[in-house]
Every structure is written in C-alpha cells, then in structure tokens.
Symmetry: C2
Subunit: 190 residues, 2 copies
DNA sequence: CATTAAGTAGACCAAGTTGTCTACCAATAT
DNA sequence: ATATTGGTAGACAACTTGGTCTACTTAATG
C-alpha cells in the first residue's frame, strides 16, 4: 500500500471511530489527511471502498493485538480470562495501538450499515468471525467435545460483545472486569 | 401529544430503526408521514428534538412490553430467565409491538451520537438504566446483599447487551437462547 | 528521452441536508 | 366576530454531500 493510501486510511479510520461514518464527509478526510481530493479518489473509487479499507486495516490491528495478548496466557483455560483482562485494558485506554476507546468500530459500523448483503456489513461479520475463531482455538484445547467447545466459545464471544457495548453506551469502563467471575465459572466446569 | 405529532414520531422511529439516523433526512420523514414540512417543524424545532422524541417513544414501548413480560415469571429467579426468552421472541420477530428486529435502537443511536454530553446519548443511557432498574427489582427479591444483587443485575444486563449485539452483527438470532444455561448458572447460586 | 504513475489545488456538479418562509385553509375558543 | 392554533403545499436559502474534471508537477522506469 502506498504511503498516501495508508495515510488516508488511517486518518479516515480515526475520524470514523470518533464521529461515526455518516457523520464524516470526504472533504473532512482529505483536509485532515492533507491530501488532494483527486489523490483520494485515485486510491479509492468511492467512499464505500474507503470504508472497507478502514475496516480491513482495523481488523488487522485488532487481531494482531489480540493474538499477541492471548498467546501470553499460561494455559488454554486462562486465555479466556486473558481476553477479558485485555478488554479491560482496551476500555481504559491502556492499549496504544488501539487508540482511545470509542466502542467497537465493527459494531458501530453495523449500526449504520444494516443491510446484511452490503460489503460493509459483511466485513464486520467477518471480523467477528475472526475473533471467534481465534478464541475457539484455545477453547478446543481444553474441551474435546466439538459441540460443547463451539457453544462455550460462542458464549464467551457474546459476553465480550456485552462488555464492549456496555462500556460504550453506559460508559461503564469496568464492564469487562465485572464478567471475570462469570468467565471463570464457565471455564472451570470443563 | 397531537395526532400529527404522534404520526411523525412513529414514522421517524420506523425509518431510523431500519436505516439509521443520519441516513434518514427530514424530507423522507415528512414524505412518509404525509405531512407538511411546516407541520414537522411546528412540533419539533429541530431534527435532534425529533430524534429525542423517537427515543422516548421507543423507551415507553419497550419498557411496557418488558415489564409485562417479566411480571409473568412465576418467581423472582425465573424473571431473569424470562428476560432471555423475551429477547429471543424479540430477535425472531414474535413481538408485534417492537416491530422487525434490527438491533437495539439505543445502542445504534449511541454508535452515531458518541458525545456523552449530548442529549441523544444521554437518552440512550437513561433507557439502559431503566431496564437495569426493572431487572434489579427482581434480583433484589432473592439476593438480600445489596452489593451482590447489584453485581448480578449488572452481569445479567451485560449478557443481555451481548445477545442483542450478536443477534444484530452476526445475525445470530439464537444468541439469547445460547445464554440461558449461563443465566441459570448465575441465578441458581443465590 | 519518453512514458507513466502518483501527486497537487481547487473549480465544478447534481443532489441532498436542515431549516425558514409565504400564503392560504379550517376549526375552535374567547 | 375575531383571534389563535394546527394544518396544507411547496418555494427557497445556505450549506454539505459524494464525485468529476482540468491543468499542472514530480519522480521513477523501460
């Protein structure tokens, strides 16, 4: 990816995260990026494609961070707990690569682009599937039964979504920590 | 509230829920409402006030429905389970008063209006507090310790947010059901 | 050397945004 | 009877939207 394309993507991502997607116009993006409008449209033939680019970039950033965090867990079972400790760090702005917490970019994008057939919505679904798969690898290590493992993975993911949403809407930055005991309860039965 | 004001509020709510708030213009609202623009601006001096009106109306609808549903529970403990059965009905379009499921209007509104000091954002916070208070009344009945009751209520609420978000983003309409066993586990310890 | 890709600034376009205003109508209340 | 309230249709203003285009510059590459 060229320098300018990267700058535009990063700037747009920051603006979208802070203000929402519809609320940010192309003109604001080019102004903040210090780039000509032609340059933006040279790299992205439409706003939608720029949005997709920000989603893909954010997915990369987030997954790299999460993979690294979960890999620090001493054993598979504690990866689930590590997930919620990581969320807590994210909510409380202790993760520099993720920037200031403003909810999950993908959940928020879905709130603005509801049509399940549109590319933006599908990008968001894909990101959530990526996270679920990553967590699933750890759960599979201590739960041999495929069905039980899949259900537990899913449950943990739903808990995670709840923590993120609660942290955003109610500005309850301790939401992830409040679930730690629940997570332990769920994991220890296996 | 006058007839026209009510019609406008209901129409706008429907449009906002289906398409998002920024994506719907005043002109579309008046066209669908079959009302003159002057009439809309007679009742609502700005779009923001119209949005607030739709939020308040939705809060009323939702709370009435939920109160009625939870009151059907045979005992306090089963009200928590009833909550997730109710969510499942909502997700799967078995609740006519709530309309077709398209996520939580309040979560989605927060995704578009992130500034915590703005009236719209605060309306959303208030709705979530209303739901939490309602559920708290039931939890208080079987958990005498104030702190424990508050924590459990909060945890159940986070689970609820997770189910709603998962149902929207991943179109997993069984999200609420997948938490039933977790809810039972949490409640039965008390 | 010549071509091509990537960049600049910014004018321009058609459409859409929120919101105001005129001019008129109909019912209701003092 | 007259004033007020709530309503109509729609023109209009001021601005923003996504997107195109011209004219020009710069740098790398075959």
């Amino acid at each position: 990816m060229s320098d300018k394309k990267m700058i535009i993507t990063r700037t747009a991502l920051q603006l979208f995260i802070n203000k929402g997607i519809h609320a940010v116009g192309i003109n604001e993006v080019i102004k903040q990026s210090k780039v000509a409008k032609k340059t933006l449209y040279h790299h992205f033939s439409s706003k939608d494609l720029l949005i997709i680019s920000t989603l893909e970039y954010r997915d990369q950033l987030f997954m790299q961070w999460l993979e690294q965090r979960l890999s620090q867990a001493s054993e598979a079972k504690s990866a689930a707990i590590e997930l919620f400790l990581a969320l807590d760090d994210w909510f409380n702005n202790r993760v520099t690569v993720l920037g200031d917490f403003n909810g999950c970019f993908f959940i928020n994008a879905c709130a603005e682009y509801k049509d399940p057939s549109c590319a933006i919505n599908q990008c968001c679904k894909m990101h959530k599937a990526n996270v679920q798969n990553l967590l699933g690898k750890y759960v599979d290590q201590f739960e041999a039964d495929k069905n039980a493992a899949a259900l537990l993975t899913k449950q943990l993911c739903i808990l995670k979504e709840g923590a993120i949403t609660t942290a955003l809407v109610q500005r309850d930055l301790a939401a992830a920590l409040k679930l730690i005991e629940v997570v332990k309860l769920l994991v220890q039965r296996h």
